[in-house]
Symmetry: C2
Subunit: 244 residues, 2 copies
């Protein structure tokens, strides 16, 4: 499993992902799940990947080959709209799934993969898209300014409580860390290190990228303070009538 | 969907459930999901139900019929062990699912149901069991002193952080309320009122039962304080290096 999310606030975009990949429970490894593309000053496109690792790797390879091939009819660098880029990634994903699905199905394995694509193209607004295994895609709304793929449920409640469009980029990233930390505690197939990528609107290049492990003081302190804060919040909950 | 949970602490047992039932998104109703059986002084058995409503109702009806029929070979009042009661409920559930599954399957509907059975039989230790749709069942461990059925993921992180065997019965119930409240915010198919049942060890009868709605001050205050407490905890999280 995997847990990736992207958050869109007024200041910009935050991308976050765990790094655990597993084929069953007895083959667990660490893979980066955040991929950065683009041309500084013209466009930044970030891709987050979840699902069958062979599928997601093949999709990234196909994207890179089109970028390397000047004669390719289209690539992440040719689109004028981000949703066209989302459509393109969805089509590649479908093509690869269709090739391998029949043989995988025989062994009860899913070829499916989901992606989050986000960024900004010069002259357009920044945005993020969730690309389903079926190739179709959705964007955020002002009420739900984030998208998730993979093991999404454990980490959702805190996002709903904290994230608003006016939330700062760093607060959004802290909330993503709490969301991933809650998920890592509940599901062993989601694990460190946590990758974070920051994009500030109109910079048209990645603003900042960082990786946090259990040995990183920021992550250790955040886990400790969050745990203490939750316990303090819990202790302040009201008593039942009969306890008074 | 549904969300039910039971918690086992040193002081006793807590049972909690939402009350929303839906057939698709356009037929939503309110049903009680906590059922109490037993003979005061001899045994208390509480059942929580999740899944196909026709299945869970038929299981409860069959249990009640056996209780009413003095000539029934077995009933919830005849077992010497709680796990035998769990086995009995699992068998009834299998029988009912087997009867209706073929016709339901034609329409793409699942006949499945899950149950939590908990309580105490005179002379034995109290316990709780999760009964799977397949009829088999598991109990808690000292490391995981709670069981959940239905929409379990949103509300799991807070249980893992708070619940220990030394947690008081009322704190366990408060934690169950927070867990259900987080789930209600994330999934509209889980909804109020919230039912709570308390059992103090060796009382061999239900200690207390209460129902909380959005109009109940306890639930309103708990939601408000928890939200405030979470925001305070969030504000105290450490800064990234570059924010200093």
């Amino acid at each position: 499993m995997t847990y990736c999310l992207a958050i869109k606030v007024d200041e910009g975009l935050v991308f976050a992902a765990d790094s655990r990949t597993n084929a069953g429970v007895d083959y667990v490894s660490t893979y980066r799940k955040i991929f950065v593309f683009g041309v500084p000053g013209d466009r930044l496109i970030v891709l987050l990947a979840s699902g069958n690792l062979a599928t997601t790797q093949a999709v990234i390879n196909a994207i890179q080959r089109d970028l390397d091939d000047a004669s390719a009819p289209e690539s992440l660098n040719t689109f004028h709209y981000l949703f066209d880029a989302a459509h393109y990634v969805g089509q590649i994903s479908r093509r690869i799934q269709t090739e391998f699905a029949p043989s995988l199905k025989e062994d009860g394995i899913s070829a499916e993969a989901s992606f989050i694509l986000g960024g900004q193209i010069h002259g357009r607004d920044p945005n993020i898209y969730l690309i389903y295994p079926q190739g179709n895609y959705i964007s955020t709304s002002s009420e739900t300014p984030y998208l998730q793929i993979g093991e999404t449920k454990y980490g959702k409640p805190i996002l709903d409580r904290i994230i608003r469009s006016e939330t700062s980029l760093e607060d959004a990233a802290r909330c993503a860390l709490v969301s991933i930390d809650s998920t890592m505690r509940a599901n062993i197939s989601v694990g460190p290190p946590i990758e974070l990528a920051f994009y500030r609107h109109d910079e048209l290049a990645l603003t900042r990228r960082t990786t946090l492990d259990y040995s990183t003081p920021m992550l250790r302190h955040l886990q400790k303070r969050w745990n203490e804060g939750l316990r303090r919040a819990f202790e302040k909950l009201p008593r039942f009538d009969w306890e008074r």
